[in-house]
Subunit: 394 residues, 2 copies
Amino acid sequence: MKTNDQDKELSRREFIQQTAAIGAGIMFASSSDLFAETKQGRATNMNIKSKGYAARDTSGTLTPWEFERRPVGDNDILIDVKYASICHSDIHQMKGHWGPQQYPQVPGHEMVGVVAAIGKKVTKFKVGDRAGVGCMVDSCLGCESCKDEEEQYCPKTVFTYGYPEKSSPTGISQGGYSTNIVVRDHFAVHIPDKISFPEAAPLLCAGITTYSPLMKADLKKGIKVGVAGIGGLGHMALKLAVSKGAEVYAFTTSPGKVKDILAFGAKEAIVVDNISKLAPYKGKLDYMICTIPYQYDVAVYTSVVKHYGTYTQVGMPEKFELTLNNLGLSISRVNFNASLIGGMKETQDVVNYCADHNVHPQIQIIKAEQVNEAWENVVNKKARYRYVIDAATF
Amino acid sequence: MKTNDQDKELSRREFIQQTAAIGAGIMFASSSDLFAETKQGRATNMNIKSKGYAARDTSGTLTPWEFERRPVGDNDILIDVKYASICHSDIHQMKGHWGPQQYPQVPGHEMVGVVAAIGKKVTKFKVGDRAGVGCMVDSCLGCESCKDEEEQYCPKTVFTYGYPEKSSPTGISQGGYSTNIVVRDHFAVHIPDKISFPEAAPLLCAGITTYSPLMKADLKKGIKVGVAGIGGLGHMALKLAVSKGAEVYAFTTSPGKVKDILAFGAKEAIVVDNISKLAPYKGKLDYMICTIPYQYDVAVYTSVVKHYGTYTQVGMPEKFELTLNNLGLSISRVNFNASLIGGMKETQDVVNYCADHNVHPQIQIIKAEQVNEAWENVVNKKARYRYVIDAATF
């Protein structure tokens, strides 16, 4: 973590000058109030007060929490969050499905808002810019993965919540179900004016996570693309693939989603209430992306892809573990791979692409107090298709 | 199953003519005696007596067994088995690791010998030819997979032992740990004179199973190939890859194999007594083939392959199931696939290739009575590297 070294080295004199300039109201001001007078982006070395919803244990219940974020470092920006959306991953992680967690922990890795302050070395953003943050808030920026613009695979990546982060007053990164976030500028993207904030939020994880592997699949007009699991990620995969000219086959376990799926532009909606429903599609598809975030019959699903085709798993199950039948996989002759979100350049790409091509997630805006109910709905496959929390209600 | 329809339709008159011509000794003669006088390959519609070693239950213990094989059909050949080798799959299947079995069952899917009789429609072989049989004895020959010369993926493939086979007097196919086999000609390959019988036997499974995916890996001189698990299959993968000019990194859990591995031409032998031993090889290899036939840490092994490289699993674990860490797989960015043996054309290719390029398995010839001890050694990783049973001792 290098982001705040310079701040830490600020002399006491500088510190006093800064705080004096901002005034006595600082300790209680919201971040936007705080920086209303610092449009030039002068960073403060005071912790930033934040308010959000946090998990306190593995119960999966969130409650309001006031906490602090680190000061805005030279390379940081402070974003006043306007909307934050709910990803199934939030639930998995808070419940400890991916390993023990430190609590309180604020989930949320899809957030958008307005830049309220910038560090003195920041040129990528200016105060007032529309900005979004996804699943990462830091990485080394020097390793092969970072150089290849795949920061998500850097060994030092700090994911947006629950990761050890020395600079954070809570010791871990804290996510987007909150009024603001301090983040290294590299890990924020611009949100174009032509897409609304609530519709942009889900692009930061659901959008990029499906866009990245779809772009590697070299989508051509008429290519047959399968999407398994039509939730937050799946419906974005569907819309993105349709927008690229693909013929999309959507596999869902929810009969109630069929109408939506066809409205989103899928060629076919297949209700997999029994695994045998996949049989007629054996070897039919050029490519498949699977968003199912729990254990399922991998080999049977891969069998819908043509021989030597590719199948990408983006849904992350409990403990991240998937059990597959190796004989079945050999029979399908399919390349199975997994993909984790996407790099920052590609994240900007997907946001721009969706803004330019009117590829918008199907959202339901909720208040913070509805978040626990919304989580239940996500688990029970009742979300249609992404819950977006109005951050003004935190 | 169409192979014997014509035989079944032989009139009683023809039946009497045939048996009369062969004489009264038929019922007790060995297959080679039986056909010593029928060099023209006139098929008989009498069952063929055979003698071998069979499993009686899931104990993994084999005992001598006399049984019958089907008559030689129009498209069949009868092979007097000279050598049959031991594959870990034999043990898995007999012990019921891949599902319940019918017993008695004769294992063995690597066998070579001399053609003793041919059906009247057979042109591929003549009596006296050297021939080998691998993992399959029949398929539909009409489906896409069969047309693509990947008969192993035909839905109607009859594998060499334990598969329902109406034509077999025992109701299932019976394998190569025996004095002879009757097999449809398409599923036998020619064994060139320049390779010995015992050295040819292991090519029928260990050879083709590693050759087929290695050929798809487009081996070029200097390509870095990993081989994980240096047993019967792994040592063949190693030798084949070396022979193709690859720089081979062999991963083994047996320190005692290091010397052999280097002698086989590997660039490095890595003893993985702890999974951390893989760390220095992270992202180093162009391609990896894994022969480990039990559950292991798939994602960590895949991490030694460069990003977007390919990793092929050929070892088949219990229940065929492999559990992998999907997050780990995403971080390695590797295409994971599985491969099952290879088609008949490719099986002939590997036999010819090994004969032409002196790529010989490292074998230990044993007598039939040593088979149970040999199986123990295979399970305990003591085989060096393929046991070959002298069929004269059955």
